[in-house]
């Protein structure tokens, strides 16, 4: 289904922030904002929900710790409890200090890598992915706000012109 969207361009992040606040105040739904760099506080101004990436990382870390513990316990204590240089391999707790470096590293490994992969999956990033950039200038020095038009085209245009937009385009967009 094709729909009409409005693209408002800004050349300053402070102006963009004010514009976002005005558009939100006028009860329009902002589809997307494209920026060349992170704009501090933009997510708050847009009212985006906070990320839960840190929570997933914590859980992945717990998995890593469990993997390390189970692996070392199976290999060193249960499967073949050899006497290696007098280390006490009678129980896991007795020989634990020797396993801590591995437990630590695997916790970090799982927490870091799985979180990064989660980030890629959730933000749909992978090699050979087609770039979703609506205008090349947004990767250099322009900010772009995209709003879907639902029958009140002129109102929205006037509002955006008032917010200091340097360029306003209306175009057809095929929804994916």
């Amino acid at each position: 289904m094709a729909s009409k969207v409005i693209h408002a361009f800004y050349d300053d992040d402070d102006v963009l922030m004010l514009a976002v606040k005005k558009v939100k105040a006028a009860k329009f739904r902002i589809e997307e904002v494209y920026c060349p760099f992170p704009v501090h506080g933009l997510d708050k101004a847009m009212g985006l929900a906070p990320t839960r990436l840190a929570v997933t990382s914590f859980l992945y870390g717990c998995v890593g710790l469990a993997v390390a513990t189970v692996m070392m316990n199976y290999i060193m204590i249960e499967d073949w409890p050899q006497d290696i240089g007098g280390k006490p391999s009678f129980s896991y707790i007795e020989n634990m200090p020797a396993f801590v470096p591995i437990m630590f590293e695997l916790t970090i490994f799982f927490a870091a890598h799985l979180m990064v992969i989660t980030f890629y999956l959730r933000s749909r990033l992978w090699p050979f992915k087609k770039a979703e950039n609506p205008d090349v200038r947004t990767t250099d020095d322009h900010f772009l706000m995209e709003i879907e038009i639902q029958g009140n085209e002129q109102d929205l245009k006037d509002l955006l012109a008032n917010t200091g937009a340097v360029e306003i385009n209306i175009l057809e967009k095929n929804s994916h």
């Binding site: 840190a54 914590f58 007098g86 200090p97 020797a98 801590v100």
Partner: protein, 433 residues
């Protein structure tokens, strides 16, 4: 300006009075003869230990038995002294840790912390009386009032070649000279930096601020060296047969995290009374992040020291941990839970770090954990398996806690709680994370 509330003042005086009573009680209760010491141990746990003693008496010859009893007497006599020393050192270490944090904030030109400088200066005010108290205890040790440091006992040294070989460093005169040198340096920086900080409020340029920056950077160099030597002198030398290279760092981590915790707690207290209007959740959040990070740093050093010695298992090094694990299992491993696991799980969440009562609760556990840390460092060498957290220990903590509160909050009344002309004060007021 802060006014010392009467309730807090009376509370701190009561703490001091109760603590002092208990400390005196602890010294009175300590045995003065071998017979008393034996009777105390027998009465303390009449089933288990008495059997041990009689068993030991049966197998050893008379001479050895007598020296064992003498040893027991010394341990029991050391108990009130060690309790006093641990508490005195613990509170001095808090204000020294705050001083290091303060110097780092100045040298790093941190933009968030100038609002807290007066709080830190208030806490470091305790370094003067606290340092002097520790020095007096050390002085009394060199005068043979106690047996905290066995290398001070000429008779022990005469029969101990290891200590003899170290006597070029470990001798009472040099020991006291070093202690005077450390304390003079720390106190001189503290007083001068405070003076410059107050003068900056009244001046018309930033020369005092720049001077403070320079002396803080210089102090950090001095502090790093003296703190390390101090930890060998005041803590490691209770075990003169043992040595560890990262000990200075380890003690530093302990005092640094305790100091930051106390800054957070005092700040939260003053804010709750309406004195620090411009301090916001972000400042507390930053302090809590430091508490979290340095707790983990402490654990890293604790574990590195423990694991290296456990792994190589060289007899002259490993006895340090053998005595601790045999006789101090609960405090030794309990402090790892309190200083690592507890802050790790409690302060990991970003939102929790902004909840004041959460930070205070975590802070109480961290402080108790680091008290145990010093306890486990000093007690095994001074009282051995005769340790107990009883009247002398608790009273000493109460006394110094009262003294600390009294002195710190009295110092806070002496200057406005907000610096006026610090170049970073506006940034600090609008600090937002």
């Amino acid at each position: 300006m802060y006014t010392f509330s009467n309730r807090l003042k009376i509370g701190s005086i009561i703490l001091m009075a109760v603590g002092l009573l208990g400390i005196v009680g602890g010294f009175v209760m300590a045995p003065s003869t071998v017979e008393e010491a034996k009777a105390m141990v027998a009465a303390h746990d009449d089933e288990g230990y008495a059997e041990d003693v009689s068993h030991a008496a049966g197998t050893h010859d008379e001479g050895h038995d007598a020296s064992h009893d003498e040893h027991l007497l010394h341990q029991l006599q050391n108990k009130p002294w060690a309790a006093l020393y641990i508490a005195a050192f613990f509170f001095m270490m808090i204000s020294l840790g705050v001083l290091a944090f303060y110097a780092i904030q100045r040298a790093a030109q941190a933009g968030w912390s100038p609002l807290l400088f007066r709080v830190m200066e208030g806490i470091t005010a305790y370094l003067v009386p606290g340092g002097i108290v520790v020095f007096v205890i050390l002085l009394l040790s060199t005068l043979h009032m106690n047996h905290l440091f066995i290398w001070m006992d000429a008779e022990v040294v005469a029969h101990d070649e290891i200590i003899q070989a170290k006597s070029g460093y470990l001798n009472p005169t040099f020991f006291l000279i070093r202690a005077v040198f450390f304390l003079t340096g720390w106190i001189a920086y503290r007083e001068y930096s405070r003076k410059l900080s107050l003068r900056q409020d009244e001046s018309s340029d930033d020369s005092n601020f720049k001077m403070n920056f320079r002396i803080s950077a210089g102090f950090l160099v001095f502090y790093l060296i003296t703190e390390s030597i101090m930890s060998w002198d005041w803590i490691m030398s209770v075990d003169p047969h043992w040595f560890s290279t990262l000990f200075g760092w380890y003690i530093f981590a302990s005092m640094f995290v305790s100091g930051i915790t106390v800054i957070a707690m005092v700040t939260i207290y003053l804010k709750s009374k309406g004195y620090l209007q411009d301090v916001n959740d972000s400042h507390i959040h930053d302090l809590a992040k430091f508490m979290f990070g340095i707790s983990i740093f402490w654990t890293y050093l604790w574990f590195s020291q423990y694991m290296l010695i456990w792994y190589s298992n060289i007899p002259e090094e490993v006895t340090y941990y053998v005595t601790r694990i045999n006789d101090y299992k609960l405090p030794f491993f309990g402090m790892v839970v309190m200083n690592f696991l507890f802050p790790l799980l409690l302060l990991m969440n970003s939102d929790f770090k902004r909840v004041n009562w959460f930070v205070v609760m975590a802070g109480v556990v961290i402080l108790a954990g680091h008290y145990l840390d010093i306890f486990v460092a000093i007690m095994p060498a001074t009282v051995g398996d005769q340790w107990y957290i009883g009247i002398p220990e608790i009273s000493s903590v109460l006394f110094f806690a009262g003294f600390f509160i009294f002195w710190v909050f009295r110092a806070l009344t002496k200057a406005p709680l907000q610096p006026k002309r610090n170049p970073f004060i506006e940034e600090s007021k609008h600090f937002h994370y």
